[in-house]
């Protein structure tokens, strides 16, 4: 069953067209990668799913529900959590407060505490820096914190925008492992990446976006073997 379906979506910023009849779908509990160059429309796709921008045409549905009609906070309440490009940690709040605010819509205080503890167990570096200000963390730690913050919200679908950006290869590996772990626990993942190699390693399927529409799609293995992908995105 398709969990998330984007069908023929157009998106304009004033006159600039960012998405052009974009159609993608994500099945329950899949990791789907969205690859593409700068300006391809990856961030726009995520922003539209999480309600920050509205499609001008086409439809966006999550488990049959029309997302284009919902406010961003209703979309979060439906279990879609978006970790934005650049992490956007609340810089003057502590690591722990950053985690807590991820559970803003979670009523059960015990559940919030339990999920924060799970995040600390999964990412021990955060536990060591629990009362440190978020803005003082390294890039990798901030990415972990952004992940932890979203996990406290109890995501059904996790939208990740370039989590590997600016990270050392070893840290990229750790982040990808966490994403795999999250999926094993039942979360569906839509992963935007420029690091196609890292993304294709953990993804089930992938789409390559160019100029706001799907240029190629297939299983991760198919794409990783496709000469055009190798040439343009795997830099071989």
């Amino acid at each position: 069953m398709s969990a998330l379906v984007l069908a023929d979506v157009d998106l304009y910023y004033h006159r600039v067209q960012a998405l052009d009849r974009l159609s993608i779908d994500v099945q329950e509990n899949e990791i789907v990668a969205l690859l593409g160059n700068n300006g391809a429309g990856k961030t726009s796709t995520l922003s539209m799913i999480s309600g920050l921008v509205r499609p001008n045409a086409g439809s966006v549905t999550w488990r049959g529900q029309d997302l284009a009609k919902l406010q961003p906070w209703d979309i979060v309440a439906a279990g879609l959590l978006h970790i934005p490009e650049g992490r956007r940690i609340f810089s003057t709040m502590t690591v722990h407060e950053n985690l807590l605010i991820g559970g803003y819509l979670v009523k059960d205080q015990k559940l919030i505490r339990q999920r924060a503890d799970e995040a600390y167990a999964l990412m021990p570096r955060l536990a060591e820096r629990r009362s440190q200000q978020g803005g003082t963390l390294s890039g990798g730690e901030q990415q972990m914190l952004a992940l932890g913050r979203a996990l406290v919200g109890g995501p059904k679908l996790l939208l990740l925008d370039e989590p590997s950006m600016g990270l050392a290869p070893l840290v990229v590996k750790q982040v990808m492992q966490i994403i795999e772990h999250v999926r094993r626990n039942g979360t569906t993942v839509l992963l935007v990446e420029q690091n196609a190699r890292a993304a294709l390693r953990i993804a089930d399927r992938a789409y390559v976006i160019e100029g706001g529409s799907v240029a190629m799609s297939g299983t991760a293995d198919e794409l990783a073997a496709d000469p055009r992908v190798i040439e343009a995105y795997l830099g071989a």
Binding site: S50, G51, L52, Q71, P72, W73, V76, A77, L81, H82, I83, P84, G86, R88, I89, F90, S91, T92, M93, E97, L100, I101, G102, Y104, L105, G135, R149, G153
Partner: protein
Amino acid sequence: MIEFITGDLFQLIWNGLFVGSFYALVALGYSMVYGIIKLLNFAHGDIYMLGSFIAFVLLGSVIGFLGTASLPILLLVLLITMILTGGIGVLIERVAYRPLRNSPRLAVLITAVGVSFTLEYGVRQIFGPAPEVFPFRLSGESVEVLGGRVSVPQIVLMVIAALLMWVLQLYVMRSKEGRAMRAIALDPRATLLMGVNVNRVISRTFFIGSALAGAAGVMAGAYYGSIDFLMGFTIGLKAFTAAVIGGIGNLYGAMLGGLVLGLLESFGTFVLGGEWRDVFTFACLILFLSIRPTGILGARIAERM
């Protein structure tokens, strides 16, 4: 000689802190609203004025009924007034500012000035241009402390102001909604992605800020005894100055800025004479804006990443 100096010194500090706590109460609303939506709400001082007039009407009716009023009644009136001015603040945001959320900043600023005039001249229409005598005044003995004079009403009002600020501080720094408020100040878009209904938090901020300004208005009425439709204008500018001195957008900055401004005024007028009070205040404002626009604590608030 020494006693004279310490007495004077204490008196100046005490007077400064007393006036400063009013500035702080009003500055808080200014600063919190600026912090979350980057709006200089020039109508904020007029909420203080509305607070005075609402309490004027409420106390007037109570005294009409009971023939007299007392401190507990004043506290009850204070509470009701805070709720009413808080509600008015929410309404103003909803009607005047929210539709302009994505408009150029200047448009919103001009709207705020328009709201200010509307409130001032609306009250003038109802109550007339002449000052009204506040129906209840706090009275009480003065006691001598370290050679200075401290009156019971002053102590009562300072305690109320301190309590209000303490509760506010707890709310903003410890509660979930306070955290959401601070998050919006840091990064509104990221806050949306946490599932925060930003509109609701903005309304709440207006409610709290306006309730505090209303409280200060009631307290000013009960202390000074005379109110008029333009009384919010000067205090608005002073609260703005206090917010700038402390670091606009910063909660503790507004409290600190209020007290610092009170002290500066107290010492400034002691040296220069009372007629220089407002000139001195705005000289401080200009000085801070040009030398340290982030205010005393402002640097701590990191602007967006």
